[in-house]
C-alpha cells in the first residue's frame, strides 16, 4: 500500500461539492505534483489532508501509512507526520516565530511520546536550518509572519517544514507570488528535504515550479478528481496545451 492513499473522496464546503470521488496514491519518498485549473479543488484537497474543519467529507477515506486520518484533529495529523505549507501563511500577532517553532516541535514530540528538545538542541537545529533559507535572527524574534513579505512568509513555511520534518508534506501553491530568486531559494529548501522517508505533494497551477522541484509523477486535477496521471513530461504538455482539454470546454 502506498504511504498516502486517498480513496474516492467526496468533500463539500458550505453545501457546495468540491471534491467528486478523488483517488490518489503517493508512494513513500515520492514527489507528486498536482496540477489543475483554478477551482478544480486543489487547495481543498490540501486543507482536507491537514484537517481543516470547515470541510465536510461525505464519502471516501484518507489513509496515511495504512491508518485513516479523517477522524483526527489537525494537531494529531501533524504529530503523525502531515505538514501543510499554506498558500497564504497566516500572521500570528504576538507569538514570536522562535516560540512558535519550539512549541510546535515539542507538542508533536510529546504527542509521539518523544522527549522534548532542550534549549541548546533546539537553538542548534534552528541555526542549522534557517541559514540556508536566508532567515536571520531578527526574523525569528518577530511575530510569526507579521510584517513579512510574501517571499519571507513562504520561506518561513519551508523553515517550519525543515524543523518539523514531516513524513508527508503538502505544498499548496508554494510558488504563488514569488519572484524568480525567491522561488529558487524556496525550491532549494524543498529539494534539501527530499528524502526516501518523506513524501511530498506539490500543488501548483503553473509548470514553472516544477523546473526547480522535479516531480516523480504528475497528476492532473479537474472538477474535483484526478483526470490524468503521468511522468514529469505531462507538466510540459499542460504548459503547451493548457487545461482546456480537461475542463470540458473549448479554450
Amino acid at each position: 500500500m502506498a504511504f498516502l492513499e486517498v480513496k474516492n473522496l467526496h468533500v463539500e464546503v458550505e453545501d457546495k461539492k468540491i471534491l467528486n470521488g478523488l483517488t490518489l496514491s503517493v508512494e513513500k519518498g515520492q514527489v507528486a505534483a498536482i496540477m489543475g485549473p483554478n477551482g478544480s479543488g486543489k487547495s481543498t484537497l490540501a486543507y482536507v489532508l491537514a484537517g481543516k474543519d470547515s470541510y465536510k467529507v461525505t464519502e471516501g477515506d484518507v489513509l496515511l501509512d495504512g491508518d485513516s486520518i479523517l477522524e483526527m484533529a489537525p494537531d494529531e495529523r501533524a504529530a503523525k507526520g502531515v505538514f501543510l505549507a499554506f498558500q497564504y501563511p497566516v500572521e500570528v500577532p504576538g507569538v514570536a516565530t522562535m516560540t512558535f517553532l519550539r512549541t510546535a516541535l515539542n507538542a508533536q514530540r510529546k504527542t509521539r511520546g518523544e522527549a522534548e528538545l532542550s534549549t541548546p538542541e533546539f537553538m542548534k537545529l534552528v541555526r542549522d536550518t534557517s541559514g540556508h533559507l536566508g532567515i536571520n535572527q531578527e526574523m525569528l524574534r518577530r511575530a510569526v509572519n507579521v510584517g513579512f513579505s510574501g517571499g519571507e512568509k513562504k520561506r518561513n513555511e519551508i523553515l517550519q517544514m525543515a524543523i518539523l520534518r514531516p513524513r508527508l508534506a503538502v505544498l499548496d501553491e508554494t510558488d504563488s507570488g514569488l519572484d524568480i530568486d525567491a522561488l529558487k531559494t524556496v525550491a532549494e529548501g524543498v529539494n534539501r528535504l527530499r528524502s526516501p522517508e518523506r513524501s511530498m505533494v506539490l500543488i501548483t497551477h503553473y509548470q514553472r515550479l516544477l523546473n526547480f522541484i522535479v516531480p516523480d509523477v504528475v497528476h492532473v486535477m479537474a472538477k474535483g478528481k484526478i483526470v490524468k496521471s503521468g511522468g514529469k513530461e505531462l507538466a510540459l504538455e499542460l504548459e503547451a496545451k493548457g487545461y482546456a482539454q480537461f475542463s470540458g470546454e473549448a479554450a
Partner: protein
C-alpha cells in the same frame, strides 16, 4: 431644580446615609475638608447610587449591583494584620518598596518606610487630620467631576497613601501600595490617595488591590509635574465589589504611562479621569482585563486634552470567558485650543464563550481643528484560521488557544517599561489561562 425624583432609597443607599451620619464627626479633616465631605455627601444624597439611566454608568448599574453596604471596616487588629501579611504576592518577585494598607488603614509595621531623599510617604488620614498643606492643596482639586462614586469617596474617605516625590528625585525602587483585606468579616472601605510627582522627577508607582469579601471604593489623585516621568500601574484582584477612580492632572512635557491589570475580580470598575494640562506630553493609557464566571469589569475613561501638542495612546484588551461581562467606555475630549493633539484609542475584546458579553463605547469630542484623533473597537472570538494554523503544526487545541490569548494580552503588557512588572503580569496572565476549564 428637581432635588429628588426618587421616592425610595435602596438598602445600600440608606446604609450609606446612615454610615455617613454615624462617622461624620470622627472622619479626619476639619474646616474645608469637612465642608467638602458634606458637599460630596449631599451630591450622593440627591442622586443616589449611579444606575443604568446615568449614561456614564449605563453598563454598570451600581444601584443594582450593590445590594447592601458592608459595615465600614474597623482599624485592623493584630489578627487582621497577620492575615494581610502576604498580600501583594503577584509582585513578590519584583523588588519594590511595599507600603501596606489593611482594610483601608495604613499599616506601618508591614511597610517599608526607610527614608529616601526626595521621597515622602505618609497616611492620608493623618495628613487630613493635621491639615497637611499638600493634601489641602490637591485633594478634591485634581480633576473636577460630578461622578457619584468619587463623591461618595470624598464624603467617606478614611485613609490611604500620600506620596510626594520632590523635584528631580528618582526613587530607587518602584513604590507598591498594597491594599489588602485583613478582616474575616465582610467590610467596606473608602480609601483616598494622593500622589504628587514634582518637576523632572521619575517614579514607578503600583497600586495593588487584593480584596476578599470587601467593598472598596478607592480614589487616587495623581499630579504629574512638568517633565516628570511617571509609570502608574494598578493591579486589581477584587472578589467582591471594587470601584476605583484615578483623577490625574498631567503637566507639560511629561511622560506618563498607566496600566491597569484586572483579573479574578467579581465586580470591578476602573474609571480614569485624566487631563493633559500642559503641552508636549506623551502618555500611554493601557490595560488588560481577564474575566470569567460572572465577573463584571468596567473600564471607563475620560481623557481630556486641555493643552496642545500632546500625544495619548489608549489601548485596552479584555478576555472574556463563561458568562462574564466586560465594559469599555472611552471618551477623549480635545479642547478648542488643544491644537496638534494626537490621540489614538483602541479597544479589543476577545470572547471565549457565547455567553460572554462585551460592550465597547468609544467617543471622541473634538473642538480643535488641527488634530489627529482616532479610535477603533473590536470584539470577537479567537480567529479559527489562526487556531487551525497553529494546530496544523502539531499544537493541541487548548495550547493553541492559550498561545493566542497570551499573545493577545501580551501585546499590551509588553508596553510596560519595567521588566519585572511586565514579566510578573505575563505570568499572572498565564496562571489565569492555566486555570481555564
Amino acid at each position: 431644580m428637581k432635588a429628588d425624583v426618587r421616592a425610595i432609597k435602596t438598602p445600600a443607599e440608606q446604609a450609606l446615609s446612615a454610615a455617613f451620619a454615624t462617622v461624620r464627626g470622627t472622619l479626619p479633616g476639619k474646616g474645608a475638608v469637612a465642608a467638602m465631605r458634606d458637599g460630596a455627601f449631599r451630591r450622593f444624597d440627591t442622586l443616589g447610587l449611579p444606575h443604568r439611566r446615568v449614561e456614564e454608568w449605563k453598563y454598570t448599574d451600581l444601584r443594582a449591583l450593590m445590594r447592601d453596604l458592608y459595615p465600614l471596616a474597623p482599624a485592623p487588629d493584630a489578627a487582621a494584620r497577620a492575615r494581610a501579611k502576604n498580600a501583594g504576592k503577584l509582585l513578590a518577585g519584583v523588588e519594590c518598596r511595599r507600603v501596606v494598607f489593611v482594610d483601608g488603614t495604613f499599616t506601618p509595621e508591614l511597610s517599608d518606610l526607610a527614608p529616601e531623599p526626595g521621597v515622602t510617604i505618609g497616611s492620608m488620614s493623618e495628613a487630613l487630620g493635621k491639615g497637611d498643606p499638600l493634601v489641602t492643596a490637591h485633594v478634591g482639586h485634581t480633576f473636577a467631576t460630578d461622578d457619584v462614586a468619587v463623591a461618595l469617596n470624598t464624603a467617606l474617605m478614611g485613609d490611604g497613601a500620600v506620596i510626594h516625590i520632590s523635584a528631580g528625585a528618582e526613587p530607587k525602587l518602584p513604590i507598591n501600595l498594597i491594599f489588602a483585606t485583613g478582616s474575616d468579616k465582610p467590610t467596606s472601605a473608602f480609601v483616598r490617595s494622593l500622589v504628587v510627582v514634582e518637576k523632572g522627577a521619575k517614579a514607578t508607582i503600583i497600586e495593588t488591590y487584593e480584596s476578599g469579601d470587601a467593598q472598596v471604593n478607592a480614589a487616587t489623585e495623581l499630579v504629574v509635574g512638568e517633565e516628570a516621568q511617571v509609570d502608574y500601574i494598578k493591579i486589581t484582584q477584587a472578589r467582591a465589589l471594587h470601584v476605583a477612580s484615578l483623577l490625574g492632572s498631567i503637566g507639560p512635557r511629561a511622560h506618563f504611562n498607566t496600566f491597569a491589570f484586572t483579573a479574578g475580580s467579581s465586580v470591578a470598575r476602573n474609571q480614569k479621569f485624566i487631563r493633559f494640562a500642559g503641552e508636549g506630553t506623551k502618555a500611554g493609557i493601557r490595560g488588560v482585563s481577564l474575566l470569567r464566571g460572572k465577573d463584571h469589569v468596567d473600564t471607563t475613561l475620560l481623557i481630556e486634552h486641555a493643552a496642545g501638542h500632546c500625544e495619548s495612546r489608549e489601548q485596552f484588551r479584555t478576555v472574556l470567558d463563561d458568562e462574564s461581562h466586560g465594559v469599555f467606555q472611552g471618551k477623549i475630549v480635545v479642547k478648542q485650543h488643544a491644537q496638534k493633539t494626537d490621540a489614538k484609542m483602541m479597544t479589543r475584546a476577545l470572547l471565549l464563550s457565547n455567553e460572554a458579553e462585551a460592550d465597547n463605547k468609544p467617543e471622541l469630542e473634538i473642538f480643535a481643528d488641527d488634530v489627529v484623533c482616532g479610535h477603533g473597537a473590536t470584539a470577537g472570538a479567537l480567529d479559527p484560521g489562526l487556531k487551525f494554523y497553529l494546530m496544523s503544526r502539531g499544537i493541541r487545541e487548548k495550547e493553541a488557544e492559550a498561545l493566542l490569548i497570551q499573545a493577545f494580552v501580551g501585546e499590551t503588557i509588553e508596553e510596560i517599561a519595567h521588566e519585572g512588572i511586565r514579566e510578573a503580569l505575563m505570568i499572572a496572565s498565564l496562571k489565569w489561562l492555566g486555570t481555564r476549564g
